[in-house]
C-alpha cells in the first residue's frame, strides 16, 4: 500500500513537473553528443608512421614481384615507322634490370633496349632512341628476372619523332638535358623529438624555431606535429611563416616583414603528411647566409582548446641545435624558450650540367641532323625566383599574379643567364608586361655582359593577351594526360573573339636574336623604362618563354 502511494506520488510529480525530466533528458543527450563529437582524438607522428594517415594513398609500382610486365597500350597508335625518342621517369627500391619491347595485340614483340635501374627514392629521367617498324602499337616494360622482389615505378612516358633517317644519324643524337632543381637536400636539422611543446593550446600564441641560414634558399621545412583534435576542429587556419630575426642566445626580435607564409587548418594539414608521419610544408624563400630566421606557427585565428591544438615535438635540451632556439610569442612579447623543435630545412639548387647551371625546367634536346632545340618557360611558381642570376633589393614573387616583380626605383633590375650548352643559331624571347598601368619594362640582352642591346616591344590589347594566355593554359591542362606532345596548344590572336578586344594595352616582347658568332650563353636584364611617366610603382614580365634553335653538330 505504502509502495503504491509512493509510486503514485512519483508519477504525479513527473506529470506535473515533466519539464524537469525533459531538461534532464536534454542534458543527457548533450553530454552524449559532446562526448562523441568533441572528445580528444590525438594523432602522433608515431601513430601515423608507415603512411597510415596519408590522405592520398601512395602510388602503386608498375612492376612488382607479382607483376613482371607493364604494358603501355596504344603509345604508337597512328604513328608512322621511323626513329623515335622515348622518355620516361623511373625509380626502383632495389637494383633491377628491365627489358623494353615493342608490342602488338597479336603478341608480336621486338626488343629495343635493356636498362639497369639503381635503387633510389627519387625519380630519374630515362631517354632511349629507337627505330619503330610498322605494325607495333604498344610498349612493354618487362623485368629481366621475374623472381626479383623489386618495386619499379614508371611514369611520364612520352615519345617524340626524330628528324633522323638512318643509324649513323641516330648515333649522333645527343642526350636530352633537363634543367632541374634539387629541393630534397636537408641543409639544417634538429632530429631529436623526445619532448612535446604543447603551448599552442593557449590562445594567440606564436611558436617556432630560430635557425641560422647556411644556404641562400629554403624550399621546405619539416616538423613533427602531434594533432589534438575533436571531430569538429573548425576551418580556421594556422599561419606558418618565415621571417628574419635578430637572435642572441636568449634575446630574439623580429626584423622586417614576413618573407613567405602559408596557411592550413587542422582539417587540411594532412595533405602535408609524409609516409614517416612527419609534415613537410613547402616554403620557398630567399635567405642570406649566416643570418637568423624564424619559422613559426601562429594560432591567433584558430579556436584552440585543450582538446583542439597542434603540439610540436622537439627536444628540451638547449644544445640539441646550437645555432638557434625554440621561440614563443605571447602577448606581444617574443622570447626564446628551453629546447629546440624537431625540424629539417630543405634547400634548393639548380642542377648543373658539366659545371653549367641550366634554368629550372629548361630542356635541351637533339632533333637529329645536327640540330637541337632549347626551351624554357617560367612556371608561375615561387621556384621561378631560383632561376634569377641577379636581383635588386625588393625583387619578389607574387602568389596572386604568379610573376616575379620588382619596385621601379633607382637601378632596380633582375637578370637571367641562359646557358644552352650548344651554339645558338637563333633565339626567341617572348614575354608580356604583367599589367597595363604597371611601369613599362625594358629588356636588354648581352653576349658578354658588357654590350647590352635593348629588345623592341610592341603594344597589344591586354584583354587579348590575357585571353590568349588563358586559352593556352587550358590547352596545356587538357594536354597533360596526353602521352605525346603536339603543337596544337599554340594559340594566336585569330582564336580570340573580337568582343574581348578593349583599349588597355600592354607591352609584348617577341624578339628573335641571331648571334653573329658562336654563342652558348645569353644574358638577359629586365629593368623598368625610366622614360615611362606613368604612376606605376612596380614592373614585371609575365609568361616568359625562351626558345632557341641549336647547332648540335
Amino acid at each position: 500500500m505504502m509502495k503504491n502511494d509512493l509510486l503514485k506520488k512519483i508519477v504525479n510529480f513527473i506529470k506535473v513537473e515533466r519539464r524537469l525530466f525533459l531538461v534532464a533528458i536534454f542534458l543527457g543527450m548533450v553530454f552524449l553528443i559532446n562526448q562523441a563529437l568533441y572528445a580528444n582524438h590525438k594523432k602522433t607522428t608515431e601513430s601515423c608512421a608507415g603512411g597510415k594517415c596519408l590522405i592520398v594513398p601512395p602510388e602503386k609500382p608498375q612492376l612488382t614481384k607479382d607483376n613482371a610486365y607493364y604494358f603501355v597500350d596504344d603509345l604508337f597508335k597512328n604513328q608512322s615507322a621511323g626513329y623515335y625518342r622515348l622518355t620516361f621517369q623511373e625509380k626502383s627500391d632495389q637494383a633491377e634490370k628491365i627489358i623494353l619491347k615493342l608490342n602488338t595485340y597479336t603478341e608480336k614483340e621486338n626488343k629495343i633496349d635493356e636498362l639497369s635501374f639503381e635503387s633510389s627514392d627519387k625519380f630519374k629521367n630515362q631517354e632511349i632512341f629507337f627505330f619503330l617498324p610498322e605494325g607495333f602499337d604498344s610498349l612493354l616494360f618487362q623485368k629481366e628476372n621475374s623472381a626479383t622482389s623489386g618495386n619499379i615505378f614508371i611514369k611520364e612516358i612520352g615519345i617524340t619523332k626524330l628528324n633522323v633517317t638512318n643509324q649513323s644519324e641516330l648515333a649522333l643524337m645527343k642526350k636530352t638535358v633537363l634543367g632541374e632543381t634539387d629541393s630534397t637536400a636537408v641543409e639544417i636539422s634538429q632530429p631529436n623529438s623526445d619532448d612535446s611543446f604543447p603551448w599552442l593550446k593557449e590562445k594567440k600564441i606564436i611558436l617556432g624555431q630560430v635557425f641560422q641560414a647556411k644556404e641562400p634558399v629554403i624550399s621546405a621545412v619539416a616538423f613533427k606535429i602531434d594533432i589534438n583534435k575533436n571531430l569538429n576542429p573548425g576551418s580556421r587556419q594556422y599561419s606558418l611563416s618565415l621571417r628574419e630575426v635578430k637572435y642572441d642566445e636568449k634575446k630574439v626580435s623580429l626584423v622586417g616583414p614576413i618573407i613567405v607564409d602559408t596557411a592550413f587548418s587542422v582539417g587540411s594539414i594532412e595533405k602535408y603528411r609524409q609516409v614517416d608521419g612527419t609534415f613537410i610544408f613547402p616554403l620557398y624563400g630567399i635567405l642570406e647566409k649566416d643570418k637568423y630566421y624564424l619559422i613559426s606557427l601562429d594560432n591567433s585565428k584558430v579556436e584552440v582548446s585543450n582538446q583542439n591544438y597542434l603540439e610540436f615535438r622537439g627536444s628540451k635540451n638547449n644544445n640539441s641545435y646550437p645555432n638557434g632556439s625554440a621561440v614563443m610569442k605571447k602577448q606581444k612579447e617574443l622570447y626564446a624558450i628551453d629546447g629546440d623543435l624537431y625540424f629539417k630545412i630543405y634547400g634548393a639548387n639548380l642542377l648543373e650540367e658539366n659545371g653549367i647551371k641550366i634554368l629550372n625546367g629548361a630542356k635541351i634536346e637533339s632533333l637529329g641532323k645536327g640540330l637541337g632545340k632549347y626551351s624554357y618557360a617560367t612556371k608561375g611558381k615561387f621556384v621561378d625566383l631560383l632561376d634569377l642570376a641577379t636581383a635588386s633589393t625588393g625583387t619578389e614573387f607574387s602568389e596572386g599574379d604568379k610573376i616575379i616583380y620588382a619596385p621601379a626605383k633607382d637601378d632596380a633590375s633582375f637578370s637571367y643567364v641562359v646557358n644552352t650548352l650548344y651554339p645558338i643559331n637563333k633565339l626567341n624571347f617572348y614575354a608580356t608586361q604583367n599589367k597595363a598601368g604597371w611601369k613599362k619594362v625594358k629588356v636588354s640582352y648581352s653576349f658578354d655582359q658588357n654590350n647590352w642591346i635593348d629588345l623592341a616591344s610592341s603594344e597589344k590589347s591586354e584583354a587579348v593577351i590575357n585571353a590568349i594566355n588563358n586559352l593556352a593554359e587550358n590547352n596545356a591542362e587538357n594536354n597533360l594526360d596526353s602521352e605525346i606532345v603536339t603543337d596544337d596548344s599554340i594559340v594566336t590572336t585569330d582564336d580570340i573573339l573580337p568582343e574581348v578586344i578593349v583599349q588597355e594595352t600592354v607591352q609584348v616582347f617577341d624578339a628573335e636574336i641571331i648571334p653573329t658568332k658562336e654563342v652558348k650563353t645569353i644574358y638577359f636584364k629586365i629593368s623598368y623604362d625610366s622614360n615611362d611617366a606613368s604612376k606605376g610603382k612596380l614592373f614585371a614580365l609575365k609568361n616568359l618563354k625562351i626558345t632557341a634553335d641549336l647547332n648540335m653538330k
Partner: protein, 113 residues
C-alpha cells in the same frame, strides 16, 4: 496541504539546482567557450522557466543588426560571433514559440458543461 506544497517546491528546487549543477559540470568538462556556456545555461533556464518568445526574438534581432553593423565596419571576427549568438536566440525563440503554441491549444480546449 501547505506542508505538501513546501515539500513539492523544495524537491522541485532541488532538482532544478541539480540540473544547473550538471550543466556547469558539463561546461567545465567539455571546456566550452564562456559565451557558449552562458547561452547553454540560459537555454536550460528558459526550458525550466519559459518567458515570452518575443523577448528572446528581440535579442536575436539585436544580434542580427549588430552583425550587419560589424560587417560594415569590417570587424568580421566579431560579426561571426554575434551571428552565432543570433542563431542561438532564434533557436530559443523557436522552442519558446512551440511551447506557447501548445499552451494556446490547451487553452482553446474549453470543457462543455
Amino acid at each position: 496541504m501547505l506542508k505538501n506544497i513546501i515539500k513539492k517546491i523544495s524537491l522541485k528546487i532541488c532538482l532544478e539546482a541539480i540540473l544547473f549543477l550538471v550543466s556547469f559540470a558539463m561546461g567545465f568538462y567539455f571546456q566550452w567557450e564562456i559565451a557558449n556556456f552562458i547561452f547553454f545555461v540560459i537555454f536550460i533556464f528558459l526550458l525550466l522557466h519559459p518567458i515570452s518568445s518575443r523577448i528572446v526574438a528581440s535579442g536575436a534581432i539585436i544580434f542580427l543588426i549588430a552583425t550587419a553593423i560589424l560587417l560594415m565596419a569590417k570587424k568580421n571576427n566579431l560579426a561571426e560571433i554575434t551571428a552565432i549568438w543570433a542563431y542561438y536566440c532564434m533557436i530559443f525563440t523557436a522552442v519558446l514559440a512551440f511551447h506557447e503554441l501548445r499552451l494556446e491549444k490547451e487553452d482553446a480546449i474549453i470543457p462543455e458543461d
